[in-house]
Symmetry: D2
Subunit: 339 residues, 4 copies
């Protein structure tokens, strides 16, 4: 359904061409400093049109907080925030009314729900991810109070067959955001830019992967069996539209699993910060794979086109990770080791 | 926590050296044929000691159904089934009382829950997976009635750096089970066997991957946003102990994402049977990565040792997939397209 | 928390003096006719200021649908609807900033959540019930398609010690709404009116009870054990602010339980339409008790005052019942008797 | 479904004439002292056959703990406990195979689930309540550690039209258990005994009410809106088979609601310990109404017959209240007022 989490819960709503999209965050404790600006800043990082390598759509995406915050702090009630769709005319898409876009879920969605909303993907549009970013911004406001050492940073690790070097620990979001590719490798990212521009001109698209690293975590975050940290991260990240795989572990994990156990277990960071489903106090590593987006130029002429969504997906993945961490942090509060 | 699913729900309990392990399956409709033998057969496929390449532990693992079944059919009430731990003496492990086994979650678990059960991993033991197999057997009994064309088959696709050829469609569990490696490739599996035996003798271990294919699915299975089929599969599979990654798509997906979109989207089976989070009617493909198990010979002398858990994990992954499909099938019943 | 239901789920948000209140309804099937007008009409029935016996606050309460509806039908995505607080100045309440209103939860709420919103009760205000009415209107749109014979009608059965005669089967909402007391007894309601006016002038208040009757139900609605119809109704109705008791059964049930079993079980309608936790096909009866509201004149001078909230609570209780029925209807779809 | 609670969760299973009934308690923190004896003692209080006024069935009801406890303490894993049905022959009931017992849910249950278990009510039997008592015993073990001042005591307040005097604060379970009626009023209980014996001889039955009082609660227990303490208590208590109504407030609450607000709100204990849905630090009062049981002599000849189930229901209601309090206590841990 449209709700994620047990104690820190995100519920999202909204179609890409309806009146508005929005999020309800239920379960955030009271007394957490939360300004509208924090959410707006997070949304601005997701916004398209920030550079020549992303889509040209100008989406204002101004967030309005409707509840849950008073005098700059949360009050323990559900936090509702919405973003109006200013660019709501769907004429661009009218001509798609009876056309299933290749590579899109249109046919599947119509088969299941019959009454398809043909306006630009409706609920299956990537625009839905802004609701996740709102939720993530609130989760990070909470984590800043509850677990102030936690730092979640994601970056573009692969575009097509171009692979970034693994960045040093301590990488910041500012450093990642400094380049439109959101790849921290100063050499590879220039080539990535060119590759993305070429794909754009050719009406083509590119996939790849994003890496996520979380530093400063306490030991023991996670719940047994089906609520393991890695299981919840897998669900949260796997729910993002174009994601097609998730690996828990350092960037070279898929090579490491070819090693014998005696070698594997002697490697540094080899558990990716998770043992027995719980954080072990070391940085958590994730690698998230993306398929190339489906909207090709010929079908998107009237609509708009993002040749490589990964730079914009970086803050979306950070948001999903923060939502899971906030939820597990509350769950650990609930059941301290020995009551 | 220890419950998975929304409408078809599995709750598991039990430590590896306590009196018993077991499962409650809540939400299975009434009138489904379900014999004890079906569950026992499923457990037998997971049992160790079936060949020289798996652990020598002899675990009887006799299942007893405590509720929910009457005269060979489900009656709509919770189905409870347990397996006694016949081999309950934990002297073998007593010497581990104050020793954290390297590569195990012992230290992390103790930090979080303080009162650690030192008896062979307790709840974090791989023995916990028998509860999943019980749940999966019930889910498959349900699917046999509700979606009789569905066939879920998993196989060992990689051991260390040895990679199986992709089997033809229509592969059966019987064919997979015909070889102790559970690899269907007649050439590679012999080499896998030797590699596993060598690891066993060396007190070493091996990881790799398992592939899962589901054939005969209807269109539209899955729920929007956080309940997408791929998100729920990721949680279910990611909750299995040694799993360290999940990819949705055909076996060569990680190579395909290096392609441009125009090429990627023109490939056969490239969506792995899932679009917009819902089944599209084609076979669903999954690749699940495993790290090498941690119990090395020197620590496991008194305990027991599985050099490569993947052959035994095959029925566990099939169970997790079937549980997710049963849950989503009930959810699709609940909300037929147009009420 | 702020979500009710398993498959048909209502999530509410909003404080009485924040920017807006609203509801997300998740799980409503697609293809259900739903016009804004249906929700607005439901809200209008809850609105104060409709007669001299209710509070004089003029609350416009104009609903806006933000998502989930396209061309007059639901599309299977979450339905979000909000109501702006037009009368948002909280100066009236500023003077209450450091005063706990007697009979209100102010002190308790502040102790728990520390950062109390002093603006007129915030989230504990009766204004929160408009979110329930929105949810109920959507639930009734769904029921109109799925279970078209269902008719849920509530009425004021008692004010102070004045008790209404039990109305005949077939009573309609129009008949109930025809009098400002929402009591269908043509004699007693006149006395009720006078009693309420007298309380208003005296700055006093009155409690009593509301009866609910649901006609046209199918057999078998409800889930076993903790999801029994009566358990879910109890939670849903018990969650309404001023409700202080719920009885399942005909209006005279509390007298009937003094009878011996042989007499009790031979009475007509004695099961109130519920047996074994499921509907038995007969009308469902509920009696819901209300304590007198707490806002007394001296404290409410600046704020506003409802001497008897029950006439306005009638549509709120109907909404809660409809939400439970919609949820159980979807659950019964999911698990038809014999799969 | 068959699970209650958000963080402290009870899942129950078992039919009255199947192999066993049992409970899984998930979410109990580790390190809580819990001996088998505590659960057995709780079950013994529920057991029939303790006096001439209850049913003569001899049910051993020996509990076995299968998991979650090690060396006398909980270890943070799910606690599973079962009770075998020693008296499993269902010949007594065979003759009922095609007979719907009047006043029972047999017909309704068969209509919904088709494949009815005719053996003595199956899952709808009162025997199901022993699972609740197991859960309650674990909840009380937890509360004894987490909120050691809490005391939950229930007693029989009414049988037929005989009404007990309200006992003094500080009443203990031992005092209640001292008389087979579990009514603390030394005069009325003798008359109750005679009334129950007479009903037994006549093959008749009696209903009434049970009062529950919880002393020693902290301020602030409960969650907003749909998770209000009174809403969760209503669901938990309303889920018990014969319960037909719940009132939150002191024993005379239904008289008090006839008073004007100014009088009502000046009374002692008038809020029943709950304001705004949260505990206010005063004792919580509940009144729970029961209809007379349905099994009349002529139908129960082969089976067994309890003329008045309320004395045995006393520990069941205490269990339900303790389960709700344990769950809300964990939820309050999770979200301390100001994070």
């Amino acid at each position: 359904m449209n709700t994620l989490g047990t104690l820190f819960r995100l519920t999202t709503f909204g179609e890409s061409h309806g009146p508005a999209l929005g999020s309800i965050i239920d379960g955030c404790p009271s007394g957490i400093p939360l300004e509208r600006e924090r959410i707006q800043t997070a949304l601005d990082r997701r916004r398209p049109g920030q550079s020549s390598i992303t889509t040209a759509r100008s989406e204002a995406d101004q967030v309005e907080i409707l509840s849950g915050v008073f005098e700059g702090k949360t009050i323990g009630t559900p936090i509702a925030a919405i973003v109006r769709n200013t660019n709501q005319r769907s004429q661009d898409y009218d001509r798609l009314k009876n056309v299933d876009r290749p590579g899109h879920a249109d046919a599947v969605w119509r088969e299941r729900f019959k009454h398809r909303d043909h306006r630009g993907g409706g609920r299956t549009s990537g625009r839905e991810t802004l609701c996740r970013v709102i939720g993530g911004a609130v989760a990070e406001a909470y984590l800043a109070s509850a677990l102030p050492t936690v730092r979640t940073v994601a970056w573009v690790a692969q575009v097509g067959n171009l692979v970034s070097a693994v960045p040093e620990p301590g990488l910041t979001r500012e450093q990642v955001d400094a380049h439109p590719t959101r790849c921290p490798d100063p050499v590879v990212r220039e080539e990535m830019s060119q590759r993305i521009l070429a794909a754009k001109e050719a009406g083509d698209s590119l996939g790849g992967s994003i890496d996520v690293r979380v530093e400063g975590l306490p030991v023991g975050l996670g719940e047994p069996i089906f609520g393991k940290l890695k299981a919840l991260l897998a669900q949260a990240l796997g729910s993002v539209g174009a994601v097609t795989g998730v690996v828990w572990g350092p960037p070279d994990l898929l090579s490491r699993i070819e090693l014998t156990g005696s070698v594997f277990h002697s490697q540094k960071d080899t558990y990716g910060g998770i043992q027995g489903g719980l954080t072990n106090g070391e940085p958590v590593y994730l690698r998230v794979f993306f398929k190339p987006p489906a909207t090709l130029a010929e079908h998107a002429k009237g609509g708009r086109h993002d040749p490589c969504i990964m730079p914009r997906a970086v803050p979306v993945l950070e948001a999903m990770v923060s939502l899971v961490l906030a939820d597990l942090s509350l769950q650990m509060n609930a059941r301290p080791h020995s009551a």
